[in-house]
Amino acid sequence: MKKIKIKVNGKVKTVLNNYKLSDLLKYLKIPIKKVAIELNQEIIDKKRTSNIKLKKDDKIEIVHFIGGG
């Protein structure tokens, strides 16, 4: 199956062509309730990640809270 390159938090990842955003989050073991997700600078509704198919050169940002002043 064809593979595509995407960027997750600035790092290049290679995934299968039909990979969904929800598959990626599962693979990375992301605790969905504790993060926010951006796809190409647009915030994604966390309930709809299984409807989103990843495309070549997609840029995904997954953020959470860390210590800060």
Binding site: V8, N9, G10, K11, L28, K29, I30, P31, K33, K34, V35, A36, I37, E38, Q41, I43, K46, E61, I62, V63, H64, F65, I66, G67, G68, G69
Partner: protein
């Protein structure tokens, strides 16, 4: 003494008993941070929004140590140098779990970490329109404070000195002028170095103080957290009690009548 019990800090209609807000950065570990928060008695803590470390899936999360159901998370925009980045950060913060109460800080200067007030004002206006409740890190200019208030800020948070400098309150007069002109919560956000600085801030009439480095980087962070807790309470009580007026003449404390 009943008045002390009713003396709550109210921000965006939420009531808090503690007037000390603490930052969660610069600690050696998350457990040290969580313990220091307990000692401080703080009910609000600032947090930063950053990328999840995707190469280390088992890295502990802040939420595992500090329960956001018990402690109010105040997401900040630390590290943002323009309105676009600050908005992006806070919209993401809201998405994590519905956080609307946020701390806006748009820096303009990497050396002194002074706020860029033009960008800050612009961003406050947008955030307020989007339904955020915005606590704003700002400079100590009373005019800017007024403009922030008119832009929909929920709290004015001027610096006392540069972030992390530990210099204490360098701008008492400006803080007092801002206090006189605004009914919004006024919180000193940056520059404090020791507990007595917090007392002075409260005695100037501030509604609270925000402290990070002075606690996190103290030799004994837990003791310092407790010291700040007590200092804030002392300062508030002192402010509420109405200090005596200053005089350059001596005034004996013992009666002058009946001296033998």
């Amino acid at each position: 003494m009943d008045s002390l019990k009713k003396d709550k800090l109210i921000i965006a209609k939420k009531k808090f008993d503690s007037r000390l807000i603490v930052g969660t950065g610069k600690y050696k570990s998350m457990s040290e941070c969580a313990k220091a928060i307990k000692f401080s008695g703080a009910e609000i803590v600032t947090v930063a929004v950053r990328r999840v470390n995707i190469s280390n899936k088992n890295k502990p999360l802040l939420m595992d140590y500090i329960d956001p159901k018990k402690i109010t998370y105040l997401p900040n925009t630390a590290g943002c140098f323009n309105s676009k980045d600050a908005l992006r950060t806070l919209r993401l913060a809201r998405e994590i779990g519905g956080w609307k109460l946020v701390k806006l800080e748009v820096l303009g200067d990497k050396i002194n970490l002074f706020p860029d007030m033009i960008e800050t004002l612009k961003t406050t206006e947008v955030l307020a329109k989007e339904g955020f409740r915005v606590m704003v890190y700002c400079n100590d200019d009373p005019l800017m404070a007024k403009r922030l208030e008119n832009s929909g800020a929920d709290a004015i948070m001027p610096l006392a000195a540069p972030i992390g400098s530990g210099l204490g309150i360098l701008n008492k007069i400006n803080i007092q002028i801002i206090r006189k002109q605004t009914k919004l919560p006024l919180i000193i956000d940056a520059g404090l170095g020791q507990a007595s600085d917090a007392t002075i801030a409260m005695e100037l009439g501030c509604d609270g103080v925000l402290v990070n480095t002075a606690i996190a980087k103290a030799k004994k962070p837990f003791e310092m957290a407790l010291a700040f807790k007590n200092a804030v309470v002392a300062g508030r009580q002192s402010y509420n009690s109405g200090r005596i007026s200053k005089t350059i003449m001596g005034n004996p404390s013992s009666p002058t009548k009946g001296i033998i």
